[in-house]
């Protein structure tokens, strides 16, 4: 009996020892796992702390779980004022209202999908905002709000366009002086000019005028980039604008012995709402290009048509065409085709860039069809306003 009890006790002790060892083992594993988790957390926090972007992590109830230190700088709030709070209850100040509306739909209590939208915080900062929805798993429903500081980029951009604009205005004054002087000398206001002098001065005058129009192009480009390009839109018949430009280009056409036909319907087309001056610039640019890049004796056909949705303008020339490999760069700033550079024609590379921007601003479309050596057709459409 005693033996039995002893045996039993020994077995139990043995068992307990084994259980203890197993428990210790598990405890050790847990400890390792905990250490690993802490390490991971530290790693993540270190990454977040040192990010050059602002980050807010929202859980599926829209509560802010983690923020990066830059968020504190951006919003001028302490960490305690943000972390643990529901996003819906935050950022109600005048300065941050716009940001909040962009991120969250307060009625549906849902975060909006946002990709790289620029907004201003008051007048002091520009940030680019994105929301990233975290996928399946325990984090499902969490959202990362990423804020990228673009204040400096915007400032540089503004300074650049301002510089171009001021420089261009400043350049116009001495160029006016040159223009006026040359014209007065050529008009004989300062006495007789001999033939040779006249010829030289005429060429200088044309050169100077080219410089003035280059500056006008630069001014237009800087206005496009400032985003305040379209001025006043009014209802016009596009065919009237075409007539004006065609009439004023007769001299040029005669000089190059070119034939121009204009095909338009007998009945007036629907009116379109355009910035008249800019739209004239578009037609002028396209016509000038057609003349410039078509050899003497060539032909240009303009047609205007339309339905109740769009007015369609086409201009077809029998010119040198655009090389195939350069089709996709034709509307970019300062681009000029290889073939036309070889021809030693004048051009700033700004005409089609400006043209495309004007058409875009009117919500129209522009494209072309061209074969090198055969000719080019440019087509643009302007939507007819819905009444």
């Amino acid at each position: 009996m005693e033996d039995k009890i002893l045996n039993y006790t020994e077995t139990k002790e043995d068992e307990l020892r084994r259980v203890r060892a197993a428990l210790l083992n598990i405890l050790e594993d847990t400890e390792d796992a905990r250490k690993e988790a802490v390490r991971e957390k530290n790693k993540t926090m270190a990454i977040i702390e040192n990010l050059t972007d602002g980050i807010l992590l929202l859980n599926n109830k829209n509560e802010v779980e983690i923020i990066s230190p830059l968020v504190v700088d951006f919003f001028r709030k302490t960490e305690d004022e943000i972390v643990g709070k529901n996003f819906i209850d935050l950022f109600d100040s005048e300065e941050l209202k716009q940001f909040k509306e962009l991120i969250i739909d307060t009625e549906k209590r849902k975060v909006n999908p946002v990709i790289g939208r620029e907004i201003s915080i008051g007048k002091r900062m520009d940030i680019e905002v994105s929301t990233v929805f975290l996928g399946e798993g325990p984090e499902e429903g969490s959202v990362l709000v990423v804020l990228h500081d673009v204040t400096r980029d915007k400032l540089v951009e503004r300074m650049k366009t301002e510089f171009v604009s001021i420089a261009a205005h400043q350049l116009r004054t001495p160029l006016s002086a040159i223009k006026w002087t040359l014209r007065m000398v050529l008009d004989g206001d300062t006495g007789e000019v001999n033939e040779e002098q006249r010829e030289l001065l005429e060429k200088t005058y044309v050169s100077n005028d080219r410089m003035i129009s280059l500056i006008n192009d630069l001014l237009n480009v800087s206005r496009i980039e400032e985003g305040r390009f379209l001025y006043k839109q009014e209802l016009v018949n596009l065919e009237d604008l075409v007539s004006i430009i065609v009439d004023s280009s007769q001299e040029l056409l005669k000089m190059k012995k070119m034939e121009l036909t204009v095909d338009k319907p007998e009945k007036p087309l629907s009116q379109v709402s355009v910035d008249r001056e800019k739209m004239e610039l578009v037609i002028q640019n396209l016509l000038e290009n057609a003349v410039k890049y078509t050899p003497e004796g060539g032909k240009i056909d303009i047609s205007i048509s339309g339905d109740d949705k769009n007015i369609i303008f086409k201009i077809k020339d029998t010119g040198v065409g655009i090389p195939d490999d350069q089709h996709d760069r034709i509307f970019t700033k300062f681009f000029r085709g290889d073939n036309v550079i070889r021809m030693e024609t004048e051009g700033s590379g700004l005409g089609l860039y400006t043209t495309r921007n004007i058409i875009d601003a009117h919500k129209g479309k522009i494209w072309f069809d061209s074969k090198e050596g055969e000719g080019t057709t440019f087509i643009f459409t302007i939507p007819v306003p819905i009444i």
Partner: protein
């Protein structure tokens, strides 16, 4: 009686060129190099027409125009803006303030400017 033209222009050379052109054609020319003296000259010399630049030291051309139009003594003297500004909103603003015409310097020759003045002087 020769018509009298006041040129308000801060660039000395442009002022001289324009004066020369007008004097050659038999006009009487007076000139000012900044906004304040321009305004004083309008009152003192009562020209038949004013050629007004916009970017001027001190008060700018828009302000000169606005003040001139508020002064009943000189409000009816026609003013032609001759500037190197020339964007839509500048032109609109100038005309709204009562300018007779808006000419961009770099786009006109002296003769073309004179022709505009002639048509205003009648």
């Amino acid at each position: 009686m020769f018509k009298k033209i006041l040129i308000v222009e801060d660039d000395k050379f442009l002022r001289e060129l324009m004066s020369k052109k007008l004097i050659t054609l038999g006009y009487e020319v007076v000139s000012a190099a900044d906004g304040e003296s321009g305004l004083v000259m309008i009152k003192e010399t009562k020209p038949d027409v004013v050629l007004l630049d916009l970017i001027l030291p001190g008060i700018n051309g828009f302000e000169v125009l606005e003040k001139a139009k508020q002064d009943p003594e000189i409000a009816n003297i026609p003013v032609v803006i001759l500037s190197n500004l020339g964007q839509g909103e500048d032109i609109e603003k100038g005309l709204a303030l009562g300018a007779k015409d808006f000419l961009v310097k770099a786009h006109f020759t002296p003769q073309e400017i004179v022709n505009k003045l002639k048509s205003i002087l009648g």
